[in-house]
Amino acid sequence: MTDLQLGIASLPILLLLIFLRMPIGLAMLVVGLGGTAWVSGGSLVVLAKLKSETYSTFSSYSLSIVPLFLLMGQFATLGGMSTSLFKAAESWLGHRKGGVAMAAVGACAGFGSICGSSLATAATMGQVAMPELKRYGYSGGLSTATLAAGGTLGILIPPSVVLVIYAILTEQNIAKLFLAAFIPGFLAALGYMITISIYMRLSPGNAQVRPRVAYRQRLAALVEVWPVLLVFFLVVGGIYLGWFTPTEAAAIGAAGTGIIALINGGLTRQSFTDSILATASNSAMIFIIILGAGFFNAFLALTQVPQEISQFVTAQGFSPWVILLIILALYLIFGCVMDSLSMILLTIPIFFPIISVLDFGLTAEETAIWFGILVLIVVEVGLITPPVGMNLFVINAMDRSTRIIDTYKSVLPFVASDIVRTGLLVAFPGITLFLLRWVY
């Protein structure tokens, strides 16, 4: 067997192991190390590599941002910031048809600007918004679907852990990727609100609207969210203005949300320990996947699989757009069964070389950033796609009176809104790249 054949054979083997429930990071580690040992004709290279590779992966300065962002997100859930965000959004939107649900989406978007995690956003906003939605007579299915969809804004609106990983994998600038995610994130929130508006007109149910709130009170409610704005400006503004490195910004963000939680009385000994333990298991999980992906990708590079596949694909003479659509469709399908991070670490090393040689009429950097945002979005759709969207489970578990099947039904319009938006962003790369071109 040639090295190339071995490399290609490793892909189905890896997938088989993963579907046989082998932990994803472990599977990549084992296949990567095994493959490298085979190609290099013995265990010598592998053993030598292992002496320093684990430490150098875990101590990478750019990856140190990951646990910091995770801790920042944990602290953000304690700060009472979710409540003030929801109240502010409710005072501006509550009097419209479907306004309380729209407010939940708006508050999720706001929370997403200080939290880089979808599940944390969905769970935190769920606790605040779910009782309100029930009180105003929204059906269980629409309530859970709104919050599950709103949660995906957590990862789309910077800061975002997945974008950080993409930036590191493809050697792109994190600040530029964050900037490019803004308009798509805003469009997502807008799209969800329009979806709710249409949904309410087609099947009004017995949801009530809130009385209109005077502008004075609306502004007062808006002022209440200043801690969120401050942390967001420090973290994302600081990165973008070049005040600090992304890692420093994440440290400042974690300190900021921690201090706010402390002042609001949300940070007790117990909740602090819980935050640390949740950060611990998530960080370890992510770093094991990154470690495995590192070994697996090194093995693939050794066998030249990524180059060969990208040459093969381009030699077929398909239109770049067809290839892009196929890749995005694959993400959509895989997103239904696999978590976003593993999927990105598993596929980007194979798909990115293909995309980077295709001509979309953009510069190399623009293509990389645009593709990153598209991948992020389709991966997130997987979080709310039945039957195994994680956000659906998290939110559904919070509301015992709603059957999962109702959540499944009600989330479909949101999935449709996601697909329409993805289509727009694919057809007009300028939407994603607008801010980037304007600023840089």
């Binding site: 932990p23 101590s59 300065y61 140190s64 298991s281 960080s283 370890a284």
Partner: protein, 192 residues
């Protein structure tokens, strides 16, 4: 035994958290120092308030802060590993779990748990060899001149505990198989 192992894993995770919090404080101090320093060097302060300029210039970034962050995060991750292992938090695709027979699922769990424990043992073993290499070459970090083997040693100790917990996890699966105890927490794919 379960209580002891859980206690160890939890304590290590909290120590890792303390390391993380320390790094956050260190980074924030370093950033503040750097900003104050650049205020002291700004033309505006130099011309209008030279005394304040000299005062601000006394501040500065913490020397070698990046090196400390790198070493500290690596240690924190190793300290976090046992807690993740014990709670089965590693990302896994559970799509086919409901389809497989119960015995097959348990067999798979035992198999992967064993492979995982072997992998962590391998990593820790090689890490300790890496440590003795660094010790022999006397390699130090660029700015702080801190011997690199210190960080390796700290990680190796954490890796030793991670191996211990990983082996215990295998034992848990064996007990589960023979006694037919209620299933352990299934590992769920975590989306961040």
């Amino acid at each position: 035994m379960h209580r002891i192992i859980t206690g160890i894993a939890r304590t290590l995770a909290i120590v890792g958290g303390a390391v993380l919090v320390t790094l956050i404080a260190l980074t924030c101090l370093s950033v503040v120092g750097r900003i104050l320093n650049s205020v002291g060097h700004s033309d505006f302060v130099k011309t209008t308030l030279p005394v304040a300029g000299d005062f601000f210039k006394a501040f500065g970034p913490i020397n070698g802060d990046y090196e400390l962050v790198e070493a500290g995060i690596a240690l924190a991750i190793f300290l976090f590993l046992p807690w993740c292992q014990l709670n089965r938090k590693h990302a896994t695709v559970e799509l086919l779990t409901p389809i497989f027979p119960k015995m097959f699922n348990r067999l798979l769990s035992l198999l992967w748990e064993t492979v995982f424990a072997l992998a962590i043992l391998l990593i820790t073993w090689r890490l300790s060899i890496g440590m003795s290499d660094k010790m022999r070459y006397g390699e130090t970090t660029f700015l702080l001149q801190m011997p690199v083997w210190w960080a390796f040693a700290a990680c190796t100790i954490a890796g030793f505990f991670a191996s211990l917990v990983a082996v215990y996890c295998v034992y848990q699966r064996v007990v589960e198989r023979t006694k037919g105890d209620p299933a352990l927490p299934g590992s769920g794919g975590m989306d961040v």
